[in-house]
């Protein structure tokens, strides 16, 4: 599962992307638990950050599949 970091998430994680090895679907809570193990500083952004799966915002209960592209999306500010 590829995880992309953007903007403040990229700055905080210190890298633009990360590969999370899993052979089963993950809940969003499990994804965050895994991310925070590797990137503990992301905890400060977790509340304000949304997740996207394959370029669509996630519903609360949606599972993340092993081949998905996940994006960690801090509050947006384009325009």
């Amino acid at each position: 599962m590829k995880v992309l970091f953007f903007a403040q998430a990229r700055q905080t994680a210190g890298c633009p992307e990360y590969t999370l090895r899993t052979d089963r679907p993950l809940t969003q809570a499990e994804l965050w638990a895994s991310l925070l193990t590797t990137f503990p500083n992301l905890a400060s952004l977790q509340k304000s950050t949304r997740l996207a799966r394959n370029a669509s915002y996630l519903d609360d209960s949606e599972l993340l599949q092993p081949g998905d592209e996940i994006a960690v999306i801090p509050p947006v500010s384009g325009g």
Binding site: L4, F6, A7, Q8, Q11, A52, A55, S56, Y57, A71, I73, P74, V76, S77, G78, G79
Partner: protein, 126 residues
């Protein structure tokens, strides 16, 4: 509705904006330029850095347009968003809307920009 979405590292200048439309039914062209402010609060800013998750940004923009179009039908929209370093006083976004009448053009643009700022994955960083 004709939709054009362009991400560019180059300055947004008039040639990228539309010429006066010539569609037989087009009676209105509404244009908006979003500009990097020199003063934000009390802070002077020489430039901002914009980054995007471009594939998702385009997808979200198209979803927004599809919804807004049902309320305010327009004929064509062109959106240009500049990315990378944008100096103060230069444009970060251009939106042009062609419609039969001005009312739907103004209302479409207002709602589009409000929605854009809520959900489109583009960020400005100091």
């Amino acid at each position: 509705m004709q939709i054009e979405i362009i991400f560019t590292q180059e300055p947004i200048t008039r040639p990228q904006a539309w010429p006066i439309p010539h569609g037989a039914e087009t009676g209105s062209l509404v244009e908006f330029y979003g500009i990097v402010r020199e003063i934000e609060g009390t802070e002077k800013i020489p430039s901002l850095h914009y980054e995007a998750y471009a594939s998702m940004a385009e997808k979200v923009i198209r979803e927004k347009i599809a919804l807004i179009e049902t309320k305010y039908p327009c004929q064509a929209v062109r959106i240009v968003h500049r990315l990378g370093i944008i100096p103060k006083g230069e444009s970060a976004i251009y939106v042009g809307l062609q419609s039969k009448h001005r009312r739907e053009g103004f209302l479409f643009l207002q709602e589009f920009m409000d929605e854009f700022k809520k959900d489109v994955p583009i960020w400005k960083l100091k």
